[in-house]
Symmetry: C3
Subunit: 319 residues, 3 copies
């Protein structure tokens, strides 16, 4: 049976509300995550445009990024060490549009590499909790070939400075629920998806270790088909396939609430039928935590019941 | 004075967040509803596209619908029996656009009838809590004549298999707050509304027992005018007029929060002036329940104070 | 250091959910506000289209406004007196578009003045809590010259009836995050902003006492530039400059949640660097209150820690 073993950390958000937690509150989250089986957390990006999660000299200088009031990387790493959870570090996301001809993959890669260097020196080289790197650009098809170049350069670099620590990506599928702007007029079919990802996986084979496609862009009835194609391609190219089991609902206009359990159930079943054994999710703190909202707490209970996980005391909702 | 005596159950949602409640939590909701005067609940639809509230063989076969993880119909019916509340069963909603020429009312009616047959056999024929049928398509004017055909076929069929159990509809008004897609370029006036609903009511007279128009599509100052027209037409055609006193706010972009009490107050007064004595609402669990959100709990208190209902212990907010 | 000394009251909302509080709940809000340094509250408008905060004969007659179920002005004024907070009264906002040629500033001013007369007679002339007038139209550039005429007429009138009580405005900046409809195709630059507000401030000098620009319409990196221009112009025209330190997040599509602390921190720093010493915010009750939401409560804690304010017992979140 598939298990949920990872969650994104999204405190440098661009589309969902900030939680504004302090360390005591994150400590509770980590305790709860650990109890229900989360073994790794993935910080979704270390910087987004001019905001950053730690005071990077590179970003301050090259991107004129703001010095942040708190060091989230240091805090998350402390909590990972405390709770025995692995930390994946998401690369910088500049916000520049890689579908435009002006996107410069060499320049983007250079910044990303430098920021990884800084973080490696500052935090990870001595931390037993460091689990790997997450390449934060969410591509979904071959039009993002410029990002594939970044994956290659940044991925090789990260592996080289860290003695081969693993690398994760979490791409999308160019389905009907992908954002309009990214989808544009590009109709995807299973055949085309297979063909394009065969090429992409070929380019990043040996660099990227784990791929966890976001599972919310296609119609529920088509998910199994796409997951099976992904599984086939991943096996062919020596990449380990996980799934990004999104716990937010993409069908509710204008907001991102915890998903209806009936939908999550269908997605879990599709992943199991495709032979996938591990899932990460976006994201525990907003969509599953008893400290987030009432419906998140309820979704956690449904998942735990399904997965045969006793609801731990730490995760009880007391409302 | 008008009383709120019914609520929709919306756990097969397409536009508001799922609550993900388990039976214990729904039990609390039903207890609270009963205490403040709710006598009937209306399950908004038994299936929506490929999702369903009970494992219908018809929908699984003809619509390739997913077998659901839980049987909501069985659960809601149990709770209705426990709390002395009547259950209205909403027909299947395929999601196919009835404004298109491709919409086939015979085919749609056939599926809906078969699903009602299944549910009748499986749940209702022996249940004292069964209160009637709800035709789930929300039409608002004559352009939806294909749905009127469905109302006739499905309505007659439901009545025939259930010894004449009552039938409810909850149409909209083609006003400025109706969804853009449904509204299109169709300007409504009170005169045109009267003319078109005179025809529609004529078509469904003797089949539909109750009509509860959604009260949120028109400007607040125009509501009384439309309700009075509806009352006049309903009387003419022998249909009992209720109102669907929407407790969510249609004026907040991108979200559906509990409505401002000042607005609900205006709508209550308009309904009273139109001589309507019973209201149903969309919906108690999200918009009025003390277990939903803070503002829902506050709205319930305002309503109860207005209606002279002592706030029962079950409905106290403890936050 | 800049201090947060004021908050809007938004219970006649047009874009965020109503709280539906009763007086006991507002009492808690006022107690909490007072403890963290709020010295004044600004009722954002006394009427909006056909809704009003007190039963104004003028609005009922001229605008066919609905008689409200509660008198918010009386209640807020009682609570201001109880807690030692000053009350600013926001003028009527008709909702008519002042960018259209049909907008009639004489007619609009006349209604606004009459409503202020009513409120002055009814509530303020004997209340020690009355703190001043708030001109509620949120203009952002010179295209709103018709509103500038209203500011002059209404401002002079309000001052004359109240023995010169102060007058506040809270304009926007025509930046990239201003609503599309208001922004239209009007690109702002710092130079153009300076030029247009030099003219506007010249027109209202001697009438308007305080200007607190909304700080969320421009990119974070540009805010300091605009605030410094505002400070320079305000000094030139004898207007006291505050800032409207928006505590909601303008970057989350479709909703207005409490802002990420990292963003508020940047805005606080920009205001300090521009020499501004006082901030008002939109708004305490939704975005900072421990009774609103979990993330609001967290944002309050971050702000209080930053500002060196001990979190008072009244403002502790107990969830």
């Amino acid at each position: 049976m598939i298990k949920l073993t990872g969650s994104f950390l999204d405190e440098i958000t661009h589309d969902i509300p900030s939680l504004n937690y302090d360390e005591r509150q994150w400590d509770r989250e980590f305790a709860c995550m650990k109890k229900i089986g989360i073994e790794r957390v993935i910080m979704i990006r270390c910087g987004h445009k001019k905001f950053m999660t730690f005071p990077s000299a590179t970003l301050h200088e090259l991107e004129k990024a703001f010095i942040p009031p708190e060091d989230l990387v240091a805090m998350f790493l402390r909590l990972c060490e405390k709770h025995g959870i692995k930390f994946f570090f998401g690369t910088y996301y500049s916000g520049r549009d890689w579908l435009l001809a002006t996107y410069d993959p060499a320049y983007e890669s250079d910044i990303m590499c430098r920021v990884c260097d800084e973080a490696w020196e500052r935090y990870f080289k001595h931390s037993p909790a460091f689990g790997g790197w997450y390449l934060s650009q969410e591509i979904s098809d071959k039009r993002s070939f410029q990002v594939v170049k970044c994956y290659q350069q940044v991925g090789r670099h990260c592996k080289s400075i860290s003695n081969g620590m693993p690398i994760l990506i979490s791409p999308g599928i160019t389905g009907p629920k992908l954002g309009l702007n990214k989808r544009r007029t590009y109709p995807i079919t299973p055949e085309r998806h297979r063909e394009e990802w065969d090429w992409i996986f070929g380019e990043i084979s040996g660099i990227v270790d784990y791929a966890a496609f976001q599972d919310g862009h296609v119609e529920f009835e088509d998910l199994e088909t796409y997951l099976k194609i992904n599984a086939e391609l991943a096996a062919k190219h020596g990449i380990k396939l996980w799934t990004n089991l999104e716990t937010f609902d993409r069908d509710i206009p204008g907001t991102m609430p915890p998903i209806d359990w009936a939908k999550l159930f269908i997605k879990l079943q599709a992943a199991e039928r495709a032979g996938i054994s591990e899932a990460i999710t976006f994201d525990f703190a907003h969509m599953l935590s008893p400290y987030s909202s009432y419906s998140a707490s309820n979704l956690l209970r449904k998942y735990c019941t399904y997965a045969g996980i006793p609801i731990p005391e730490e995760c009880q909702d007391r409302r």
